[in-house]
Each structure stands twice: as structure tokens, then as C-alpha cells.
Amino acid sequence: MKGVSTMSQIRMFLSVTAILSLAFLSPALTANPPSKGDVLPKINLSIPKSLDERTYLGLSGAGTFRIPQIKAKVVIVEVFSMYCPYCQKDAPKINEMYQVIENNPDLKNKVKIIGIGAGNSVFEVEVFKKTYHVPFPLFADKDFSIHKLLGEVRTPYFAAIKMNDDGTHQIVHSQLGDFQGAEPFLELVLKSSGMKQEDNP
């Protein structure tokens, strides 16, 4: 009799622990960078005031938009901060990647790049843009709200999002730091999105 009651108490103890652990752990576990195959969290960005940037993204009007609305086959997203030395160091290489894309007729208008400044105000993002002559659109995330949605990633963080013909999208590449240079990174993105085979069978 006593044995049975001890057993059931142990079982009770374990199950309560398990349930509570799950309850407390789940928020912590969601704080991971997005994985390959995932869809993006719902991120609202302000439609740029600059006409050039709106044209680049294929957007019009004012208000907000979501990344999958960008007119492209693949969108490369960099999460950066003007305060992050690695982001500063990588900035010229990301610019180079933009130039490689724009100079290649097979990629221009198909691959677009945007940057999101984690914890950066509009002013701080502008400082970064001006300092490094960043040619693609950058967005401020002063209150870290986008950064939180993206699993509080370390900066710089890179993701590539593939837009499917049916309007759906998926993350095809997700990378914390270690930017390998314009060409190798682009190669990786084109292969993981299937663009490489489509364009050069």
C-alpha cells in the first residue's frame, strides 16, 4: 500500500515538474533565430519616404508593409546595429553584394536587400547609412520589437526569404554573423532558393 502511494506521489511530482517546465520554457525557447523552412514572423515596416527606395522595393503609397510584399524572388534581410563593430566592418561587403546583384541582369529586380537596425532609432539608422553609403533601404527598430520577433538574434544576422509564385514565402537561409563575402554568400542564397538552377540549368 505504502509503495503504491509513494509511486503515485513520484509520478505526480514528475508530471507537475514537466508541465511547469514546459510552461516556463516555451517563451525562452521561442527566442531563437528563425530557421530554414519557417515563415517570417509578422513584421511591419514603414514604407520608405524616398521614391528610389520605394521603387527598389516595388512599393507605393505610405503606411506600413510586410517583407513578403517586396517585389522580388528573394529578399535578403540583414539585422544590424550602428553600434555593432562587426556590422560596421561588414558594411562595405554587404554594399558590394548589392552592386553584384544590380550589375547582373539575371539578379537585378529579383534579389533585393534590406537592413533592420536592432535597437536603432531613425537617426541612428541614418548615421549608419550615411557613414557607409548603404545603397539599399534600412529600417529602424528603436524599441527592439522586430528584434524580439526575430528571436533576439545577435548582430549582424542574415536571412534570405524566398517568395513563391502562389504568394507564400519561406526562409531559405538563416545565418548568425560570419558574413563570408559578397559572392560566396550570394551563391549560397541562390542555391538555397533554387534560383541558381532556374537561371543556369
Partner: protein, 201 residues
């Protein structure tokens, strides 16, 4: 009696679950370096200012990482001075302020201002730490010995021996024109400092 035991068991289970999940949450934060300071465990401000706007700034002479000694009075009549106190050298680099200030020398120049970075750490620690930020254009001063003496003079030495995250603007006459003893868990927005600097013109 059985009920009482059951209650005890549940409480133990709760305690274990909470402690386990807390440890794991910290482990995750640790991996995302910039969040160590964002977990909100530090008291936002833990000192009482001893100076106010309009006061003559307390004089000091401190050793710089470069090997020279820097005195506040050497800028008298020549430059506005921004003092940026950072809590401690082990603050995760990416979430810190100085790498950001490092790309806006032009803003300081336009406002006829110099920047002095100060922490309570010793010179070798500051040397190693600031090396990770790239080459800094502004002097980094050590308020290590007598420990935190300058921070104490200004009233920003916290009870655990580190300084607040604080900004002071001192004009060419040596008068304090702006004080921002910031929530230690957050980085002050660059535009606030720039706006205040522009008021000196």
C-alpha cells in the same frame, strides 16, 4: 495529511521547474550576447548626482589607454567636452555605446566637441576591451584608482563599484550644460546627445 504532502510535493515541483527554466533562460541570453544587460536585473540608477546643470564641472586628471594623462582643464577655452561613463569593460561589445560614437567623429567635430570615454576599469582591461571595437578616435580613460574617484565626484558611482551609464556635456568655460544619467540597462539615443550638442552653438 495526504493533502498536505501533496501540497508540499507540488511546491517542490514548482520550485524546481522555476529554477531550471531560469537557468536555461540565462543560458540562452548568454548566447545572444547583447541581452545580458537587457534582462532587467540591474537597478536602473543606483547613485545620487552631486552635480547639476550650470555647475562648474569637477576637475580631474586620469590616465588614458594611449599612455597619456588627460585633464579636463586642458580643453578649457578650446573644446566642448562630452564625458561618456560606461559601467564596466565587460559590457557586451555589440550592445555598447562607444563603437557607435566611433563612427560619428564628424558630428563631434561639427560641434567643436571632444569625447572622453571613462570606466572604472584598469588600463590593461580597457586596452583589451577597446581593441575589440576597432581603432577609437577618442581617448579612453581609466578611473580605476583611487577606485571610481571621478565617478564619485560627479555622484555616479553605484553601490557595487561600477559607474552609471552617464553622459555629461561640459562647455568651453567648464560649465556642465547637460546631464543624462541613463537607465543602466539601456543605451541613450544618439540624437538626444546630438541635439544637446547643437544647443551649445
Amino acid at each position: 495529511m495526504n493533502k498536505k504532502r501533496l501540497k508540499t510535493i507540488i511546491w517542490i515541483a514548482v520550485a524546481i521547474s522555476v529554477s531550471t527554466s531560469t537557468t536555461l533562460a540565462f543560458a540562452i541570453s548568454d548566447a545572444f550576447k547583447e541581452n545580458i544587460y537587457n534582462v532587467g536585473i540591474l537597478k536602473p540608477i543606483d547613485s545620487v548626482l552631486k552635480v547639476k546643470v550650470g555647475d562648474r564641472a569637477p576637475e580631474f586628471t586620469l590616465p588614458a589607454v594611449s599612455g597619456e594623462k588627460i585633464s579636463l582643464k586642458q580643453y578649457r577655452g578650446k573644446k566642448n567636452v562630452v564625458l561618456s561613463f560606461a559601467p564596466a569593460a565587460w559590457t557586451p561589445v555589440c550592445s555598447d555605446q562607444w563603437p557607435g560614437y566611433n563612427i560619428v567623429k564628424d558630428i563631434f567635430d561639427q560641434n567643436d566637441a571632444v569625447l572622453l570615454g571613462i570606466t572604472v576599469d584598469n588600463i590593461p582591461t580597457l586596452f583589451a576591451w577597446t581593441n575589440q571595437m576597432g581603432k577609437l578616435w577618442f581617448p579612453v580613460l581609466s578611473d580605476f584608482w583611487p577606485h571610481g574617484a571621478v565617478a564619485k565626484k560627479y555622484g555616479i558611482l553605484r553601490s557595487n563599484g561600477v559607474s552609471e551609464r552617464a553622459l555629461f556635456i561640459i562647455d568651453k568655460k567648464g560649465i556642465i550644460r547637460y546631464i543624462d544619467v541613463h537607465d543602466i540597462n539601456e543605451r541613450p539615443a544618439l540624437e538626444d546627445l546630438v541635439n544637446e550638442l547643437e544647443k551649445l552653438k
